[in-house]
Assembly symmetry: C2
Homo-oligomer: 250 residues x 2
């Protein structure tokens, strides 16, 4: 996809492949990863990504233009904004915070480890249809002991060679359906409004491409749900904390 892109001022343009669509719009994790690509190319010597704030402003499909601007780069932190736009207008705006690991006397880690082990090599995994973004992932679901609006699922990209770890994590991190979907008729349309994801580790790694995703909606009413999300690697280490606001149309 990026191989066929065209350079533009401050970024590039490319086509959203049909197999990365989620309904009428590009899968949000893909659009976020494209935004990160433009941000990374704007300032090639950026420190690691530590946090991303993403607004899913409108639908994106067909040819998109991905551009980045520097908001501020100080001694430690760099704030880079990246947009993904199509003929229909601005679809995604991301504000990325990059920051090097700093010398610190403080080492605190009280985060829960992954509650379940990664899939065994012979696990029967789920691969979605090739006609949707879901077909780009392999999933291994856990259903036991969860709340009524909670998902817990191992996920990996089927093609992941040469992909930057943070781009991979953005693509994977948005791959669960909204947690509120578990409570309702699957034909009710839901739409993520935005997403913040904080990366706990400045150099995240895993084994065999597996990352564990968890999402929980504590509330869903008036067509609106706030959900909290967590990611772990195959060793069980916490990798990211996240949250989303979700609109429910029905």
């Amino acid at each position: 996809m990026l191989a066929a892109r065209a350079a533009k001022a401050g970024g590039f343009s490319c086509d959203i492949p049909a197999d990365w669509l989620q309904g009428r719009t590009a899968f949000g994790g893909l659009s976020a990863a494209l935004a990160l690509q433009a941000a990374s190319e704007l300032e090639p010597d950026l420190p690691p990504l530590r946090s991303a704030q993403i607004a899913f402003i409108g639908p994106l499909s067909g040819e998109v233009t991905v551009t980045a601007i520097k908001l501020r780069r100080g001694r430690n932190a760099a704030f880079i904004q990246a947009d993904v736009a199509s003929e229909a207008g601005l679809g995604l705006r991301a504000t990325f915070v990059f920051m090097a690991a700093l010398p610190s006397a403080l080492v605190h880690d009280a985060a829960p480890r992954a509650p379940v082990a990664p899939p065994p090599p012979d696990a029967k995994t789920f691969i979605g249809p090739d006609t949707s973004f879901i077909g780009n992932f392999e999933f291994y679901d856990h259903k036991d002991g969860l709340g009524p609006a909670e998902w817990r699922r191992w996920a990996r990209l089927r093609e992941r060679g040469g992909i930057d770890a943070f781009a991979e994590l953005l693509a994977i991190g948005d791959a669960l359906p909204p947690a509120a979907l578990k409570l309702i008729d699957t034909r009710v349309p839901l739409s993520s409004l935005n997403w913040q994801i904080n990366f706990i580790d400045s150099a995240p790694t895993t084994d065999d491409g597996w990352w564990l995703l968890s999402a929980t909606a504590e509330t869903a009413r008036q067509g609106y749900s706030s959900q909290r999300m967590t990611m772990w690697n195959a060793a069980g280490d916490p990798i990211a904390d996240a949250m989303q606001a979700v609109a429910i149309f029905g």
Copy 2:
């Protein structure tokens, strides 16, 4: 403060009063509330605020200019961006999502109620020095049964007449110190990098101005901490979920 402001294209300019400073910069909750004010005035018929993503890009003091632009307004949701800038450049960028309560068959509420009751009328509360932003608040701290990097504190604005509920919640919602501060020497500088806050209720109310704040840092290392935050009203109902990324300089 807003009484003395001057209209500008797309917003207004005003002076940050010295008693709203937090070190060398305006208190983040105040800057966020100013951004919301500009957003609300850009589109006077906006539905309720449901989520805010705020990037604390740089320091703000003295005269600031607050401007808003519409990113997209659809049938249900409106995305409005607002900036706060000073002579030193862009200090804060916020992306607000406004959305009306939608008819929905789904009513789910598994969120924990407030774990402690609001302060009694004769409670001995804490009011900070008038020379810092802390002097604008009244606090009532709970210390028992908390984790090593966890705060739990009732807070209210001392002057809160005529303030929009969401502006009040933005000002209050950033009033706790970073949770990681509890683990370290208080002379170590910490700085919130960003903030997402989701409003669970489309018409939040409380009694006597009190809102309960909770913040927990599960991890803090390499000069970086990700923290989760929650707000409740005096009746114990959940009002907001939030998270921040925090930089630790030492």
